[in-house]
Amino acid sequence: MDGESNRWAVAGRKAAAVGRIAFRHQLAYKTDFAMRGFFLLFILFVFIQLWSAAYEGDFSKSISGFTLKQIVWYLVFTEALTLAAPPLCSRIEEEVKNGDVAIRLIRPQSYAGYHFSVFASEALTRFIVHLAIGSAIAWPFVGPPAFGYGWLGLLALSAGALTVTFLLLMLVGLCAFWVEETSGLYFVLQKLQFTIGGMLLPIDLMPEWLQRVCAWLPFQAALYFPARMGVHFDAALLAKQLAIQIGWIVLLALAVSRMYRRGVSKLHVNGG
């Protein structure tokens, strides 16, 4: 029993160390941060104009439970989460193509665990920075994000949302063990998140039939859940959405584990 808990403690320390290095690594690329920040500001400005035109500038109008203010903040949250995810698929693809995967595999840390440590560190930093940048533009246009316990709901669901995103990206990235080129698959995943994941439009505003389809897919757990909870706090729903997120995390983690075991057994690396 002691040996087992010791093993987990060591794994945790390794993951934390990798996370710390990834965090410092990010601070070295300030231009990259600035560029993403600019794009976030720009795209949110365009969205604010679009939705203001759709609501005819009426702040009191509510459509499917969303006022203009709630829609704008919802988009800030979904954009902050979307842009928080580092390019995991292209990293794995590059590792397989140039042989670096050989070095990763002989390290005394699980391959998926290593990538999760890096992903979590980078995604959390980016998410916080993007929330600050998004707030800087949304606040002057539609007012402060005063949504009661909304921030609590957003933060509670964001960790699970980023984990679901990581697992989805890992599933696509691991395809590189078979096909090398994963950009096409990543591209499809990204577009699914944009639309049926609720990034551009809250799922509540979609037609009934599409809402029913979305309910059976993992994409809503990655963006829609935290963003909607951020602007519409509901304690009972929070518990349900947390449970759904955990369900998807378990299911996707099993799929990643199975896929990794199958992929690594047939991987041939030249160089590295």
Binding site: F39, F42, V46, Q49, A53, T195, M206
Partner: protein, 266 residues
């Protein structure tokens, strides 16, 4: 060599470059995957717009039909421009990294040589998407088709000209790749949203500083309710910016200092 001979020689050179570039389509599966990917990408965006207009049928006078035409003009124009003059978004990088040397050594106009030396395979998907959407929802009478062709020409010329002007900044400020990439992404984004959602200074900027408005208003000002004043303005903007880009590039070349990079034309 007379001017007519020079023009003919340049035309033959451009034609040969296009033929060689389009040979990339020889890898059929790869071509179909890449072009198909862009087609699907654009289709998903239109799916989003169909959901949006399902909730808000008319936004500032724009309907789903108008946004579909906007995507037809924008993707179609970008498609032909990137297929035939595929290096237009990369000029800043080519200048900053000293890769212009390889084009300077050739007996052809440098800007033309840079532009035609690359073909974006994915852009074929954009072009086909633009045509397919127009055939689906556009006016297919001879007049309608002619106006659409003019719209594609204006849109493609503006994409090239704006990026040539922006790319020339590398002659003066050095590494402008990141900045021009952001401008490129933002310009593309602006050309795919109805121009009438913007107001005041931003709308003014769309028809002057960042002339994306001349593309995003085409479905209304050219295709739906033909406005001769807007059409003349759009043609003038496209031709004027193209000329400005060529002149700016020529001026910039005088400041260009080779980095002694050993490179080959790819």
């Amino acid at each position: 060599m007379s001017t007519a001979d020079k023009l003919m020689a340049n035309a033959r050179y451009v034609w040969t470059c296009w033929k060689v570039n389009l040979a990339a389509m020889e890898y059929r599966l790869s071509f179909l995957l890449l072009a198909g990917m862009m087609f699907v990408n654009n289709a998903i965006w239109l799916f989003f717009w169909s959901l949006f207009f399902g909730r808000f049928p008319v936004v500032q006078g724009w309907e789903l039909h108008d946004v579909m035409l906007l995507w037809a003009v924008s993707t179609g124009g970008f498609g032909w421009a990137a297929m035939l003059f595929g290096n237009f978004p990369r000029i800043a990088g080519i200048v900053a990294t000293g890769h212009l040397d390889v084009y300077l050594s050739q007996p052809r106009p440098v800007l033309l040589s840079v532009l035609v030396s690359r073909c974006s395979v994915t852009a074929a998907g954009d072009f086909l998407f633009g045509i397919a959407v127009y055939l689906m929802v556009g006016d297919t009478s001879p007049r309608g088709m002619l106006l659409f062709a003019l719209g594609l020409l204006i849109s493609g010329m503006l994409f090239i000209a704006v990026m040539v002007v922006a790319g020339c900044s590398a002659f003066w400020i050095g590494n402008a790749e990141g900045m021009t990439q952001q401008l490129f992404n933002s310009f593309i984004a602006l050309t795919t949203y109805p121009s009438d959602i913007f107001r005041g200074f931003v709308k003014l900027a769309l028809f002057s500083l960042v002339p994306a408005g001349f593309i995003s208003y085409l479905p209304i000002g050219l295709l739906r309710d033909f406005d001769p004043l807007f059409a003349a303005g759009a043609v003038t903007a496209a031709c004027g910016l193209t000329l400005a880009g060529a002149l700016l590039f020529r001026r910039g070349l005088r400041r260009y200092a080779s980095g002694n990079t050993i490179a080959m034309r790819s």
